[in-house]
């Protein structure tokens, strides 16, 4: 910077800063804080991934290193995939099958919830039938019941149906959920009635009107619900725990991970656990990156989009 520039910037008080330095400082501060928080959020994942490729003594000795460390005798540790090998080729747990199970259950449950929740939400929002108020009140009421209370009753129902250790028990009870119905009902109420009236005059049946006209308008709400459904099902531990007894082939990833961890107290086998965790987390991360745009739109859905 030349002296001339500085001189030309002097104001009446005889000194000044370059015109945009305040802005630069503000920007730097903003980004500094943002980067700091982004690192705080990302680093745990980075450590999980890098440590999952390290040898067990290396993880124990240098957990905060991003690359393999040095042994006490000066020789370096190596990168390794032994944790993944131990997780994927476990004799007790069919981990690849668990990955499939998790996908299968999450996809089926998500699709079914999109269908059933939107139909139920529409009925509660638009169709007048006796007991509608009571049905809605009961629905919202179930949101208040803590899940743990229903643990044993749910098991008893499933065992009466003979569904224990089958896919049915992992799927059917989750085909609709109160929160999703509630979300959809609120959304449908925000759609002007005139649109339906117009369709009705044109002679569309209730179903046709719902699927052809109303549902496409509900895509933001449906996306939000589908995300909640997929992620909730993917991470669910208690549901599959109750539904399965002897059939370890149907374990989903959270159960498989808990099984791998076992009752080893504090002496956790980090290579195995981190590899298992990465395998469990990775599909969700990949899906997030692919559908990022929809996710943001769906999550920021606030209701009325007319």
């Amino acid at each position: 910077m030349s002296t001339n520039t500085v001189v030309s910037n002097l104001d009446a008080r005889g000194f000044s800063l370059p015109p945009n330095i305040g802005k630069i400082i503000r920007t730097m501060l903003t980004y500094g804080v943002l980067i700091l928080f982004a690192l705080a959020m990302i680093m745990p994942f980075v450590y999980a991934v890098t440590n999952s490729f390290k040898e067990l003594p290396d993880i124990a000795a240098n957990p905060m290193r991003l690359t393999p460390g040095i042994r006490a005798d000066g020789t370096p540790y190596n990168w390794t995939t032994i944790g993944y090998d131990r997780a994927l080729n476990n004799q007790q747990i069919n981990f690849p099958r668990a990955i499939f199970n998790s996908f299968f259950v999450a996809v089926v449950v998500t699709i079914m919830r999109v269908i059933f929740n939107s139909m139920a939400g529409y009925a509660l929002a638009r169709i007048r039938f006796p007991g509608r108020g009571a049905a809605f009140a009961a629905l919202v009421g179930t949101l208040m019941v803590p899940g743990i209370v229903l643990l044993i009753p749910r098991y008893l129902v499933l065992s009466q149906l003979g569904w224990i250790d089958t896919y049915w028990a992992l799927l059917v009870p989750y085909f609709a959920d109160a929160f999703g119905i509630f979300l959809m009902k609120q959304f449908f109420e925000s759609i002007p009635r005139e649109i339906e009236e117009a369709a009705e005059i044109d002679g569309a049946s209730r179903f046709r009107m719902f699927f052809v006209i109303i549902l496409p308008m509900a895509i933001p709400a449906l996306t939000a619900m589908a995300i909640f459904a997929f992620q909730g099902t993917w991470n669910d531990f208690q549901g599959p725990l109750i539904a399965l007894n002897l059939n370890r082939e149907l374990y989903t990833l959270p159960l498989a991970l808990a099984f791998l961890r076992g009752v080893t107290g504090d002496a956790i086998q980090w290579d195995l656990m981190l590899a298992g965790s990465v395998i469990t987390t990775l599909p969700m991360a990949v899906i997030f990156f692919i559908f990022q745009r929809f996710f943001i739109e769906g999550v920021s859905y606030t209701g009325v989009k007319g």
Partner: protein, 404 residues
């Protein structure tokens, strides 16, 4: 048409009867049992599966399915509530009285071969009202881990008494290393309580006896290690548990069970260390026995078969196959010598069986344990006196015992 219909009906009825009868005919010959336990480390899971497979190969009439589960407590609760408990399942000594009170266990201990061979301290952990309910499958005890490199450098030998241990802790606290790691954890401190000659309750759990001069001595000794600067808690050292602090060489001594051995071997292979018996206090030697039994439920469908299988698992042959892994220890005194020949370095843990106390309290006692942990922290933070802590613990304990 009508004839065909009648014929079809008949065929279907015959087929149904055949289908319905077939499993019954087979059930008369083969009994199917389920053994439920928690998932442990992969090597332990695989070993137990092999033992069960060997049993199945040799016993066509009793076929066992091994069900190792995550989140064991929830699963067991679910199975018991559902009215179809597994035929054999693990019971931790800590949960034993809960389950006996719920009438969930069948007393089968005396039906086993040579039941007197089990160590008395472990039998006792599964005995109530004079009934030996279920045989201990294995056990662990606490011992003192010492970092031999540090001890040799300082010219010290392994401590055998509290005084020696305190002196060693003082001598080894230097260069950023501390003498010992003392967690604010009842499960560690309680060994000191017993070594001081103190106790938590009387033998039949009707009265708290923890507010005693012996307990005060134990609490003072344990917390003084910390307050005098010779010891740190795992949190102070930035580690998750005492074993990690010991493995990383941040401390010279740690009080842990034999589960620390495979951990140190896998994760800190270069560490030079050894286990010695817990140092004797004013009341002599003491350690804790953490043990689990193979229980048969009160509602067992095939109690004879279940007992026969349990007898194999805890008998000389089955228990040898299980404990030869070198992790948990055999509960039969007759297996002691053969086991020690293979794992001489684990002798201090096994010796503990002679003077170990059972890890067992009455239902609801978790509240007392939590209180002890809290008071240990407070005393270490100089926010509570030794006697104040003991009387707080006594108060809450008396409430728990009175509410039974």
């Amino acid at each position: 048409m009508n004839k065909t219909f009648r014929f079809l009906t008949l065929a279907i009825v015959i087929a149904l009867i055949a289908v319905a009868a077939a499993p019954n005919a087979r059930a008369a010959q083969t009994v199917n049992l389920v053994l439920m336990g928690w998932s442990s480390s992969p090597s332990e899971n695989e070993r137990l599966q092999k033992i069960v497979d060997d049993w199945n190969a040799a016993n066509a009439d009793i076929q066992v399915t091994l069900n190792q589960v995550p989140d064991y407590d929830t699963t067991l609760q679910k199975s018991l509530a559902g009215g179809e408990p597994p035929d054999v399942f693990y019971v931790d000594s800590f949960r034993f009285l809960d389950l006996v009170r719920a009438d969930a266990l069948m007393p089968v201990g005396e039906m086993l071969t040579n039941a007197d061979d089990f160590y008395p301290s472990l039998r006792d952990a599964f005995t109530t009202n004079g009934q030996f309910y279920c045989p201990p499958k294995d056990f662990s005890t606490l011992a003192l881990q010492i970092n031999t490199e540090m001890f040799e450098a300082a010219g010290l030998s392994a401590p055998t008494t509290w005084e020696e241990m305190r002196a060693a802790a003082e001598a080894l606290t230097k260069d950023g290393v501390y003498g010992a790691v003392v967690p604010a954890d009842f499960a560690r401190w309680v060994a000191f309580l017993y070594a001081a000659g103190g106790s938590v309750t009387n033998d039949d759990f009707t009265e708290m006896t923890i507010n005693s001069p012996e307990a005060a001595a134990a609490l003072k000794f344990y917390t003084d290690l910390y307050l005098d600067g010779f010891a740190k808690t795992p949190a102070d050292l930035g580690v998750g548990w005492p074993g990690e602090a010991f493995g990383k060489g941040l401390v010279a001594m740690s009080f842990e069970g034999n589960w620390i051995e495979p951990y140190l071997k896998d994760q800190f292979p270069d560490l030079k260390h050894m286990a010695v018996e817990m140092p004797a206090g004013p009341g002599g030697k003491a350690t804790m026995a953490f043990t689990v039994c193979y229980a048969v439920p009160m509602k067992a469908k095939n109690p004879e078969a279940a007992v026969k299988f349990v007898d194999y698992l805890t008998g000389a042959e089955g228990m040898k196959a299980w404990t030869d892994l070198g992790l948990a220890m055999p509960t039969r005194a007759s297996l002691r010598e053969g086991w020690l020949a293979q794992f001489p370095n684990l002798e201090p843990y096994l010796n503990g069986a002679e003077y170990a106390r059972k890890w067992q309290f009455v239902p609801g006692f978790q509240a007392v344990l939590d209180k002890v942990n809290e008071q240990l922290s407070l005393v270490m933070g100089e926010n509570q006196t030794v006697n104040g802590a003991l009387s707080e613990i006594e108060t809450i304990g008396a409430e728990v015992l009175a509410s039974r």
